[in-house]
């Protein structure tokens, strides 16, 4: 296996994109950093800029105002990067799928690699999703 991919698997830097979410998934993402789950032991850290990121965690339905911004963030991210849709809203639109403000779901806007459903998904589910991302990176 390529050493660069091996290093990438050991050091995923995560950037968190909110496409108009209700803040519930976002709080669950922060739960992953707490002592109980501690994803830093796998080398994952939250970074402040998409330029530094390897994983984009997208939450929310991506409303019409956010569509252009989410596209822009995806363009600004240094490749190779992985896009993860977190929560029912980002995966399918959830209960807002017929709403007038609906611009998503996320996979209509940018290519999504992993879907993690749930409202909100548990931190365990997110870690399981990230493990699937690691299998996908080859």
């Amino acid at each position: 296996m390529n050493i660069k991919i091996k290093a990438l698997k050991k050091s995923l830097w995560v950037y968190h994109v909110s496409g108009g979410s209700c803040n519930n998934c976002d709080i669950e993402i922060l739960d992953c950093l707490t002592p109980k789950f501690d994803i830093e032991r796998f080398g994952m850290v939250l970074v402040g800029s998409p330029r530094h990121a390897d994983v984009l965690l997208c939450t929310g339905i991506v409303n019409k105002k956010c569509v252009e911004r989410v596209k822009e963030v995806y363009k600004q991210t240094a490749k190779p990067c992985v896009v993860v849709a977190i929560g029912s809203c980002a995966c399918s639109g959830g209960m807002f799928r017929d709403g007038y403000q609906m611009g998503g779901p996320l996979d209509k806007i940018i290519p999504v690699d992993v879907y993690i459903p749930g409202c909100p998904p548990k931190p365990e589910a997110m870690i399981a999703g990230i493990v699937k991302v690691l299998e996908k990176l080859k």
Binding site: A7, P35, R51, A78
Partner: protein, 309 residues
């Protein structure tokens, strides 16, 4: 002292300082995690980060001045490595030159200037906020840091050659053993904490507010070079302080190397404890601390050193 000797020691310092610096940064991350009841990353974490950054795409923003954007991380890296070479090899008594401590002081300021240049070349608004903070921080900690150097220079018989300072301490005991030495050491540790951008003074990189600050537009290998500069600075800065106050790092015998590593670990633990017990300071609080209390303390230390305490 031939050119080949200088070049070889430069390469050796570059390799050994980057490896040791990344391990020191791992100790920092691991201890921080343990203090927060977490497990923390494995020992190879910083190496994995660096190799990953080499493999990533490097983006240069449209608005950026491309030459300055690419050149500034290289500038910072070279300056820190030269500083490390002077501290470890060239400052020996046979190869040293007068006032090399002042040159090290200049060279240790260059990484911050490189961050300022790179941030301003990137053409990003948040980077502009970051570099304005970095500039104030640089102006802030340089004055107490110079005080720390002056105290050590006066104590060791008014010399600014690192070799003579170390030689003086080998004959008369560490400068840390005196009143003014303790004051200078405290000031030096706090100023280095600012230089390394560790937590009470990490306002230039504040990820929560300004999204990585001056490094916001950097990606791929250029970001990796900044991380490498920080790793080398993590060794070179404390080593400078060891030369000034703790009797230097001797490479000639096993006991010298072991005591040098113990001195380094003492300073590293001080850094980590300060970092984990303090919240981030605002820029006005930082300047008040550096230009107010620490500079006053530094002047008091200089007076005590002149009196001979």
């Amino acid at each position: 002292m031939s050119a080949l000797y200088i070049f070889l020691s430069f390469v050796m310092v570059f390799l050994s300082f980057s490896i040791c610096g990344m391990l020191a940064m791992w100790i920092d991350r691991k201890l921080t995690a343990r203090l927060q009841f977490r497990v923390g990353p494995p020992w190879y974490q910083n190496f994995a980060d660096f190799i990953k950054l080499i493999g990533k795409e490097t983006l240069i923003p449209e608005k950026a001045n491309a030459f300055m954007f690419v050149a500034s991380p290289v500038l910072g890296l070279i300056a820190t490595t030269i500083a490390g070479t002077i501290i470890l090899f060239i400052s020996r008594t046979d190869t040293g030159f007068p006032a090399d401590a002042i040159i090290v002081l200049y060279l240790l300021a260059v990484p911050s200037i490189a961050i300022i240049l790179g941030g301003s070349a990137s053409g990003n608004v948040l980077a502009a906020v970051g570099i304005s903070r970095e500039m104030k921080l640089l102006l802030g900690y340089e004055l107490p840091f110079i005080c720390a150097l002056v105290i050590s220079a006066i104590k060791s018989g008014t010399t600014t050659s690192l070799g003579s300072i170390i030689q003086f301490q080998q004959q008369n005991g560490m400068i840390l053993g005196s009143f003014s030495g303790v004051i200078g050491f405290i000031i030096g540790v706090l100023a280095l904490q600012g230089k390394l951008g560790l937590v009470p003074f990490d306002l230039a990189e504040a990820e929560g507010e300004i999204a990585g600050g001056s490094l916001i537009e950097y990606s791929g290998i250029l970001l990796g070079l900044f991380k490498l500069t920080k790793a080398i600075l993590f060794i070179a800065g404390p080593l400078f302080l060891i030369s000034l106050y703790l009797g230097g790092f001797s490479l000639s015998s096993i006991t010298g190397i072991i005591s040098g590593i113990l001195k380094y670990i003492l300073i590293l633990v001080l850094f980590i404890l300060i970092r984990n017990t303090n919240p981030r300071l605002r820029i006005d609080q930082t300047l008040r601390l550096f230009w107010g209390w620490l500079t006053l303390l530094g002047f008091a230390g200089i007076l005590l050193a002149i009196v001979g305490w």
